[in-house]
């Protein structure tokens, strides 16, 4: 718990600086919102001006038949699947690396580092070949598995770093009581690891949600498209209806924003964790 702090000059200065900074970060989105109320002609006339009339046509156009809703569901499924796999595998592996420190740690760390570094474009053709062979092309699983596989190495490092901060005797005590390694993991390590697991989960959710490359190449059916891919439906080669495109982007961004607003308390609480080391 942080002690209640008295308001002083520093606080005011910091508040002012942060506000200015946040405004710079946020203004483009504010602009996005009020631009969606314009017609395309109005938009092309003057990109930054406030709308003259309040038109919801852009949203009608963006929603057109609810395709975006379907894409959001696909994105959610893939995000959930990939994140779940990644968190589970990374926690197990990170724990093992920290708790047991086998002799062959450098080999593992080096190969994980190499796996983290591979550029996705290079992997496209072999992955397509693999997925087609397994009948997974154009399926949700076909996107979930490679996405998770590429995110696991970084996540392992994060979990390993976390587990390294825990004292050794925490585990030794349980071991002396005769607990098996698995029990130690479940009963001792896992509960404490919640904040780190949440961190890995959130970072992965964001990555997978915004991922474009794998979904666009591996998925063909319109019904299975994810949001980032579906949004390109609003970007034209020569002509783009900007208010409609921006409305679509906003609709797409609503899902994660709403989720965050509702779960913010839980998220920050989980990120902090219970152990108040005083």
């Amino acid at each position: 718990m942080t002690a209640v702090r008295r308001w002083n000059l520093t606080s005011t200065i910091v508040l002012a600086v942060l506000t200015a900074h946040v405004l710079m970060v946020i203004f483009p989105f504010f602009w996005m919102i009020y631009s969606t109320f314009k017609t395309n002609r109005e938009f092309m006339r003057s990109v930054w001006s406030l709308p003259k009339s309040f038109s919801l046509d852009a949203y009608v156009g963006a929603w057109s038949g609810g395709a975006l809703g379907g894409y959001a569901v696909n994105s959610l499924l893939i995000m959930a699947g990939a994140t779940l796999i990644t968190v589970v595998l990374a926690t197990l592996a990170g724990f093992a690396l920290a708790a047991y420190r086998p002799r062959w740690i450098p080999a593992v760390e080096l190969s994980m580092t190499a796996a983290m570094a591979i550029p996705a474009y290079v992997a496209l053709v072999p992955l397509v070949v693999m997925l087609r062979g397994a009948g997974l092309l154009d399926t949700h699983l076909g996107v979930i598995l490679p996405t998770a596989a590429f995110n696991v190495p970084v996540s392992i490092f994060i979990m390993q770093a976390f587990f390294n901060t825990l004292p050794r005797d925490l585990f030794d005590a349980a071991r002396m009581d005769g607990a098996s390694e698995w029990k130690i993991f479940l009963r001792v390590a896992l509960p404490i690891a919640r904040p780190a697991m949440f961190t890995v989960a959130i970072v992965n959710m964001i990555w997978v949600w915004n991922d474009f490359l794998f979904p666009v190449v591996f998925i063909n059916s319109p019904s299975r498209k994810t949001l980032p891919v579906g949004l390109t439906d609003f970007v034209g080669e020569h002509i783009t209806n900007y208010p409609v495109m921006l409305a679509a982007i906003l609709i797409a961004a609503i899902a994660p924003l709403v989720l965050f607003v509702f779960f913010e308390r839980q998220i920050t609480a989980a990120l902090i964790g219970g152990a108040v080391k005083g």
């Binding site: 017609t39 395309n40 002609r41 092309m44 006339r45 003057s46 990109v47 496209l124 053709v125 397509v128 070949v129 087609r132 490359l213 666009v216 190449v217 063909n220 059916s221 319109p222 891919v229 390109t232 439906d233 609003f234 970007v235 034209g236 080669e237 020569h238 002509i239 783009t240 209806n241």
Partner: protein, 416 residues
């Protein structure tokens, strides 16, 4: 004896007539993202389903840049779609070289299908005497301007290159940008270079390279063309930061009257739909360049989209049916109407469908042209295109000397 042979023949026939997907086709296209493209493809595929209910299409659409990644990946992984959209020229030729495309010569010869196309269009989707894709639409490049603004300022349409430069000076004096240009994706600047090369040397320069002509060369004229380009940039006739501006942003400048003229393709007609009140779209041909050896009436015009059939397609008969349907007069006229672009099928670009501006271009400018020169960047092999693009950007921002740029492109075109 005879019975056995009959049985074998029968079994063979039965097996041959049993392809895994009789009546099924995978059809990939890039008609997504833009309203008019989507309208057209929905119309075309809807009508096709009505006319040929026995052919089931598995349609995959992707927006232009994502489409290329998808298609290349599918091709490279050994599983291309049956029928697909492709750019003509270098893009298509890469597939042809790899034996991936099914030659349509036989089908084209039947029922006068080949004759329904403009000959210049079909030659752009053919190589070494065989045709590997059917061309769909034609884009041509002209100067666009706002008639109202010109009238207001008393500016007249230039007939020569010198008049064009003088006009640019006048426009600049008014505090406006003479030529709108958004060269982030590099292809807009190619229109300038190509027209200058066409005026100075003549048409067919790059086509000669592509056709393996041993005497093909860009000539010293290429350096002159580059120098003229560099001059235009130095005189600040283009917008500030044009190398980072997208074509669409440049279009906004043009529609808003902040720029007076724009050298762009015929899609400008559709792109000007959201122009402010009072805007009157007009066009004029690229003016004559004094001392130029080329035919000064040549027009930069090339096939923009084409559809081909994969060599690996099991159901080639249905594939051809689809292509024939898409390139039929009725569908093509609708294409003109919806997309306001010229098509490759004769007599499909009618006045009612095209509207006054496009019809004028199609009927007057194109018909009167000495030659129609296809787009360099589409015609040349993809590896050369990259070098073409970056060289142009370099010349325009002053970082690359014109002679070097011309040489680089020439070397790239010669490379095997």
């Amino acid at each position: 004896m005879r019975l056995k042979r009959l049985l074998i023949a029968g079994a063979a026939a039965a097996l041959a007539a049993m392809p895994a997907s009789a009546g099924e086709l995978s059809f990939w296209h890039a008609y997504a993202g833009q309203q008019d493209k989507v309208e057209f493809i929905d119309f075309a595929l809807g009508e096709f389903a009505k006319a040929h209910p026995e052919v089931k299409l598995e349609v995959v659409a992707a927006e232009q840049s994502a489409y290329k990644t998808k298609l290349n990946t599918a091709m490279a992984s050994g599983n291309p779609p049956d029928v697909f959209y492709t750019l003509p020229g270098g893009f298509l030729n890469a597939f042809v070289k790899g034996g991936q495309m099914y030659a349509l010569d036989e089908e084209l010869a039947r029922d006068g299908w080949r004759d329904s196309f403009l000959e210049s269009a079909v030659s752009q989707t053919s190589k070494d005497g065989h045709t590997y894709a059917v061309p769909v639409d034609v884009d041509s490049v002209v100067f666009w301007y706002d008639k109202a603004r010109f009238a207001e300022n008393g500016w007249t349409v230039p007939k020569t290159y010198e008049e064009l430069l003088a006009l640019a000076e006048k426009v600049k004096g008014e505090g406006l940008v003479p030529f709108s240009l958004g060269n982030k994706d590099s292809w807009p600047a190619t229109f300038w270079f190509q027209y200058l090369e066409m005026r100075l040397k003549g048409s067919g320069v790059v086509s000669a390279f592509v056709n393996g002509d041993p005497d093909a060369t860009l000539g010293a004229e290429a350096t002159k063309a580059m120098e003229k380009l560099a001059e235009l940039a130095k005189q600040e006739y283009f917008p500030i930061g044009f190398n980072g501006m997208s074509d669409q942003e440049a279009n906004m400048l043009f529609l808003n009257g902040q720029a007076a003229m724009m050298l762009n393709g015929t899609w400008q007609i559709g792109a000007s739909a959201d122009a402010p009140e009072g805007f009157e779209l007009g066009y004029f041909a690229f003016p004559a360049v004094a001392g130029g050896a080329g035919d000064q009436s040549d027009v930069l015009a090339g096939v923009a989209a084409s559809f081909g059939v994969s060599q690996k397609a099991e159901n080639k008969a249905d594939a051809v049916t689809l292509l024939k349907f898409l390139t039929s007069r009725e569908v093509m006229t609708k294409y003109v109407e919806l997309r306001k672009t010229m098509v490759t099928v004769k007599d499909a670009t009618t006045e009612t469908a095209a509207g006054p501006v496009l019809y004028d271009i199609s009927n007057k400018l194109m018909k009167a042209a000495g030659h129609l020169d296809p787009f360099y960047d589409t015609a040349m092999p993809p590896a050369a295109t990259n070098i073409y693009y970056t060289s142009l950007q370099g010349v325009l921002d002053g970082s690359l000397p014109p002679a070097d740029a011309a040489k680089r492109i020439e070397d790239a075109l010669r490379a095997k």
